[in-house]
Symmetry: D3
Subunit: 171 residues, 6 copies
C-alpha cells in the first residue's frame, strides 16, 4: 500500500479479498469490552417496562437473557469474526430520562450496557456490541404493540481493554 | 386488566409470564417490512468503504450478505419471536452525507435499509430490524481498526404492511 | 413385514435404514401437544426458587424462556424430526409438594408443563417434550450449586390432539 | 447476604439479575462428568430396540449420535451456560430390566449413560445431562409410534471430577 | 441488460447486488430433488466400511444421519438460499466398484444418493446437494486415519421435478 | 484387534460404537490444513462469474464468505468432529482452464482452495474440506439458473501440518 492510500480494513487481504485474519501468532490475554445501546420510546412503553418490574411481565429480564445469549451468536452473525469463548457477561439497564407525568408525549430513553470478558487471542468488542443491539431489539419486540415508532438511538463501544491495539475509552 | 392499567406487551400472559403468542388462529397473509440503521463514521472509514467499491475490499458486499443471513437468525436471537419463512430480502446502502474533503474531521453517515417479505401468520418487522442492525454491526467490525468510535446512530422501522395490526409508515 | 414381526419404528425404511419420513402427502392440520417434566430438589433449592420470585433471582423466568427457545431447536437435537413452524408456547410451573419447614431433608418436586401449538403436517410432541426437558435442565443448572443431587424424575407426554394417529391423553 | 438468607444461585448477581458468571480468574483444568437418563417403555418398544440391533433399524445408534451432538448445543439450550470445548464423549446404553416374555405388560427400562471430558475453566455437568436427556428423547421419538406413553423416569448427574467445587459421586 | 449480455445469476439484482430472490408470488407446489456424491478410497478404507456393517462401527449409518441433518442446515450454509420445510429425506449408499482382492492398490468408489421432498415455493436442489456432500465429508472424516488421500470425485444434481423452471434429469 | 483385522476408524470404540474421541491428553499445537474443491461448468456460467468481477454480481465474493462461515459450522455438520477455534481462513479461486471462445461447448473448471489455521488439540482438515465444499455448492447455487448440470468434480485435502499423525502433502 502506498503512503497516500486510505487506511483499510484488516478483514481484506492485499488483493482486496475477504479473509478471517490469522491470529495464531497473537498471545492469549485477558480482555474486556463494554458497549451500550439506547432505546427511545413513548411514555406508555416506558410505563409498561416499569410495571413489568412489579410483576406485569418482566421485559428487561427477557432482554437481559437475549443479550447474554447473543454473545454466543456473534461469530455466526458477523461474517469475519472469530468464535470466542465468552467467559463472563453483565447486562445493566438504566433510564437516561425519568418520565414527566405532566407531559405524556415526551419520550423516555432506556440504556442497555453490556460488559463481556474473555481470555483469548482477539477482543470481544463485537460480542458486547451485538449483545447490546439484541437487548434493544428485544425491548422493541416486546413493546412494539405499544409503540411501533420506538427507535434505537445509539449503539456504540464504551470501552475496551486488553490486546495489542490498546485500550479505548469513549471520551 | 382494569381500564386504567397501562397498555401492556402481548408477549406476557395475564399472569405476567412470558409466552410465545398463539397465532394458530391468524390468517396467512402477504407481509412486508422495511427497517433502517445508520452508521456515523470518520472520513477515513468512509473513504475505505468507497475505495472498497474500487477493489480494495468490498465492505458493503460483506455487510449485505450478513444482513440477508441475519433474517434467518431472528427467531434465534429474539426470544419470543416466531420462526418465519423469509421469502425475499433486499438490502440498500445510501450515504446520507457526502464527505467534505476540506474538513477531514466531519463525520459521514451511511444508511442501510432492509426490505423483508413473507407469506405468514405474523409480520417480519423484527427480521428487518435485526438485519439492519447486523449490517451496521458488520460495517463497524470491518472498519473498527480505522475508527473505533464509530456509532450506530439510529435503527428503526420505516414501514410495514399486511396483518391485522394495520399498515405503518414513519411520518 | 410378516405378521409375527414386532411393530417397528417408522423412522427406518424397509431395509432398516434411518430416513426422514415423507410427509408430503399428509394434510396440514391444527395440532397441540402438552408435555411435562418434574424436578425433585432439596428444601434449600426450593427455597431459593421461591425467594427468586421475590427478587432474589428469577429461576423460573429463566427456565421458561429456555423452554420456549427449545421448541425452536427440537429438529436440530432430534435427528429425524421435521422442522415445524411453532405457533404458540405456554410454560407453566407448579409445585407438586409444599415444603415442610419442620423437616428440612424432605425433598420437594417442581413440575414444568409445556403446551405447544402448530398448523402443520406433523405433530409437536417432540417440541413439547424437548422444551419441558430443557426447562428442567435449566432449573438444575441454576441451582446445582445448592443441590447437585437434584434429579429430573419424570418427563412425559401428557396429551396431544390433531393428526392421523389420533388424540392421546395420559390416563 | 445475611446469615439467614437461603443459599442462592450463582447465576444471579447481588441485585438478583441473571448474568453469565465471570470465570476468567478460574484455572483451566481437566474435568469429567457422567450423567444418566432412563426410559421406561412397554415390551413391544423394547423388542423393537433389540430387533434393531439385528438390522431392523438401529434406534440406539441414532440416539448415541444425537447425544454426542447435543454436547455441542448445550450452551445454546441452557441460557447462562458457558460454551465449552467438548474434548471427548462416550455413550453407553444398558437394560436395567430384562423383559419377561410371559408378562407382556411389564415395562422395561433402558439407561443411557454419557461421559463428557474437557480441559476448561468450568465443568461439563450440563453437557452430560443434556446429552443423556437428548438420547432419551430420541429413543422416545423413534418409538412413539409403538408406545406413546413411554416415560423418561430419571435424569441425573452420576459423578463429576475436576474444578474448585470438588468431586461428586452419587451415593 | 442488453441482448448480448451473458445470462446472469438470479441471485443479484439489476445493480449487481446480492439479494434473496422474492418468491412470494410463486405457487406452493410439491417438489423433489435427487443429488449424488461419490468418494474414491483405497481398499483398506472400503474394507473398514464393509466390516462396519458387521458390527465394527457403522460408518454409513453415521454418514446417513449426517446427510439427513444437513438438509436442515442448507439455508445456513448457502447464503442466498431460502429456508425450506424439508418433508422427506432418503439416503442410499451404493458401491460403484467391487474391490479386487488380488489388487490391493486399486481404488474403490462409494456413491451416496440423497432424495429430498418438500411442498414449497422453491426447490430443494441445494438441500439434496448439500446433504450428499456432507455424507461424503463424513465418510472422509471417519476413515481419514485409514486413507487421508481419499477424494470426493463427483457431486451433482441427478434430477429434480416441480416448480416453474421445469424438470431436470441428467442424461 | 487381531493382526489380520482391517485397520479401522478411530471414531468407534472397541465395541464398534460411535464416540467423540478423547483428546484431553493431546497437546495444543499449531495446525494448518489446505483443501480444494473444483467446479466444472459451461462457458455461459464461467462468463457470468467473470462478468461479476466487473460489477454484474460478485459470485466469488459470496462463495468466499460462505466458505469462511462454513469453517464455523463444521462440527455441527460432521457428527463426531470436535468444535475447534478457527483462527485464520484464506480462500483462493483459480481458473484451471481458460475458456475457448471458438468452442462454446467446452467446459471450464474453477478451483476453490481454502487454508485454515488453528492452535488446538486436533486438526482442521474437516474445516478446510467443508469450507471448500460449501464454496463449490454456493457457486452452483448462484449459477444453477445458467447451468443446472454443473458438477463438483473433485474435493480433497491438499496438505496438512501439525499434530501427531504427521504432515501430509498430496503428491
Amino acid at each position: 500500500m502506498s503512503r497516500s492510500d486510505p487506511p483499510g480494513s484488516t478483514h481484506f487481504n492485499h488483493a482486496g479479498q475477504a479473509h478471517m485474519v490469522d491470529v495464531t501468532g497473537k498471545p492469549v490475554t485477558s480482555r474486556v469490552a463494554v458497549a451500550s445501546s439506547t432505546v427511545r420510546m413513548n411514555p406508555a412503553a416506558a410505563a409498561a417496562i416499569r410495571a413489568g418490574s412489579s410483576r406485569k411481565g418482566d421485559v428487561l429480564g427477557v432482554a437481559r437473557l437475549a443479550a447474554i445469549s447473543a454473545t454466543k451468536w456473534t461469530s455466526t452473525l458477523i461474517p469475519l469474526c472469530h468464535a470466542i469463548p465468552v467467559e463472563g457477561v453483565e447486562v445493566q439497564f438504566t433510564w437516561l430520562s425519568h418520565g414527566d407525568p405532566t407531559s405524556p408525549a415526551s419520550p423516555e430513553t432506556l440504556q442497555c450496557e453490556v460488559t463481556v470478558r474473555t481470555t483469548s487471542r482477539t477482543g470481544v468488542e463485537m460480542e458486547a456490541l451485538t449483545a447490546a443491539s439484541v437487548a434493544a431489539l428485544t425491548v422493541y419486540d416486546m413493546l412494539k404493540s405499544v409503540d411501533r415508532a420506538m427507535e434505537i438511538t445509539a449503539t456504540r463501544l464504551e470501552s475496551k481493554s486488553g490486546g495489542k491495539s490498546g485500550d479505548f475509552s469513549r471520551a
